[in-house]
Symmetry: C2
């Protein structure tokens, strides 16, 4: 609780944007603590990303395995939490927007570009980092399965099943939980599932994505009707052959349709 830190003139504009300091009256009640603006200088800002991809668990024979949700983590090589796994991220550079920073840290880690990217939440509890005060603006992303298959792994980068996570650094377990909740909630009323598939795909493949994310089986007949009536798909006229059953139709995204409704916010 060290207040009145002397940080020089760096933060003279910290309140430039806000109404703070423009308050015309004295203090309200007794709740106005004696804190100077300089106190704000001790807060650091970082951007992290929860990256989801659909993968089949190849620990067993890859035959017939249903895909599940995976995410890449990086091992920390310094204190605090040295040795633990954490979400990829880093400090925000002054020349890049928040989403840009998320996109970049994602590329640094996996070498891939996200098919979908959305801001998740800003985490800023006082005690979430034992060393310094850090506020993290967290994004969540989806990457295509085919690309995720050839994503980078290394000594300090590894993919984990979203339901088999080890204890993570900081509050990152909570963050991943929240990202999973948002993914599942949004999946129910939007079209983001397309983001993990290739250019063309069958309805069964799309349904498999929904099932993996939601964690339950869906009725093929009803799923077909729901998706078709949403108008999000276009029939390519082609079919997928080589299966040992009736060849299914191949669909494509309707590029004119929005993935999600972000309200008045521009889409990233």
């Amino acid at each position: 609780m060290s207040e009145r830190l002397d940080t020089g003139s760096r933060h003279t504009d910290a309140s430039a944007e806000a109404g703070e300091g423009t308050w015309p009256l004295g203090s309200f009640g007794a709740a106005q603590p004696d804190v100077t603006q300089a106190d704000a200088a001790a807060v650091d800002l970082a951007v992290s990303t929860v990256i989801f991809a659909l993968r089949t668990d190849d620990r067993f024979g890859a035959q017939g395995a249903t895909p599940t949700l995976w995410l890449p983590l990086v091992r920390r090589i310094r204190e605090p939490f040295e040795g633990l796994w954490a979400l990829p991220g880093g400090p925000l550079r002054s020349s890049e927007g928040l989403a840009d920073a998320a996109r970049r840290s994602l590329g640094d880690t996996t070498g891939l570009a996200p098919r979908y990217l959305e801001q998740l939440y800003a985490f800023g509890d006082v005690d979430r980092s034992p060393s310094s005060r850090v506020v993290s603006v967290v994004y969540w992303a989806l990457v295509g399965s085919s690309e995720a298959a050839r994503a980078t792994v290394g000594q300090n980068v590894r993919w984990f099943r979203s339901d088999e996570l080890p204890p993570l650094a900081f509050d990152h377990n909570l963050i991943v939980e929240y990202a999973l909740w948002r993914l599942r909630t949004k999946m129910e009323y939007s079209r983001i599932a397309h983001a993990v598939l290739g250019e063309t795909f069958t309805l069964a493949q799309l349904r498999e994505v929904h099932e993996a994310v939601l964690g339950r089986r869906l009725d093929p007949a009803n799923f077909r009707r729901t998706i078709e009536s949403s108008g999000a798909l276009v029939d390519t006229g082609e079919r997928l052959t080589g299966t040992r059953h009736r060849p299914p139709k191949l669909y494509r995204y309707d590029s004119s349709a929005q993935l999600v409704d972000n309200g008045p916010l521009p889409h990233t």
Copy 2:
């Protein structure tokens, strides 16, 4: 675009939380710009709040007027945007959480405590402030109508109808628009409308809140059934007398029921 700022040792822990810097391989592709961590030091962090209250427009005779959404703004007394109206807010103090900061700036401005408070979004475009780089974590809040009636106003604090806003400082017009969208979207499936009412209230009063927020009339009969079946209300057994028609029942919140589903996130 000033990179490589020398800001001393202040930000040595800026990447303490994130995986940045732990990347074991060299650069990926050609996309790794030559930027040091110190570049991150030039970003300031602020917390602002969009505060909503339900008021009747007393410019006309207050009789029979339907209430509308209002919000308090503060006038900027320094550059940039000096003289324009802006959302209340201020820098984040190192000893307070994000929600605490929002709650405090709300209290500083209106002297009131919010009945509902939720994080809205983090705004961090590079050019949203002409002077310095500022990332704003924005909250939105609801305050009770009765308390809002005796809220503070002054030379530099004034209430505005949400649909009659002047041009605001920074990107605050967009922020208010987005807050309005979230309020309306959430109102459809949650119970936050209770937050602007008093301890007890009639169904017509509750319906009036919904109508004001959604901007359309609702069928009293259907509204009653929807709300009653949600289980959010408790019949107090009392009735409101003094009206010139059949006295309506008075209800109370079911304190055990959650206002909204935030997933795994704790409620503020």
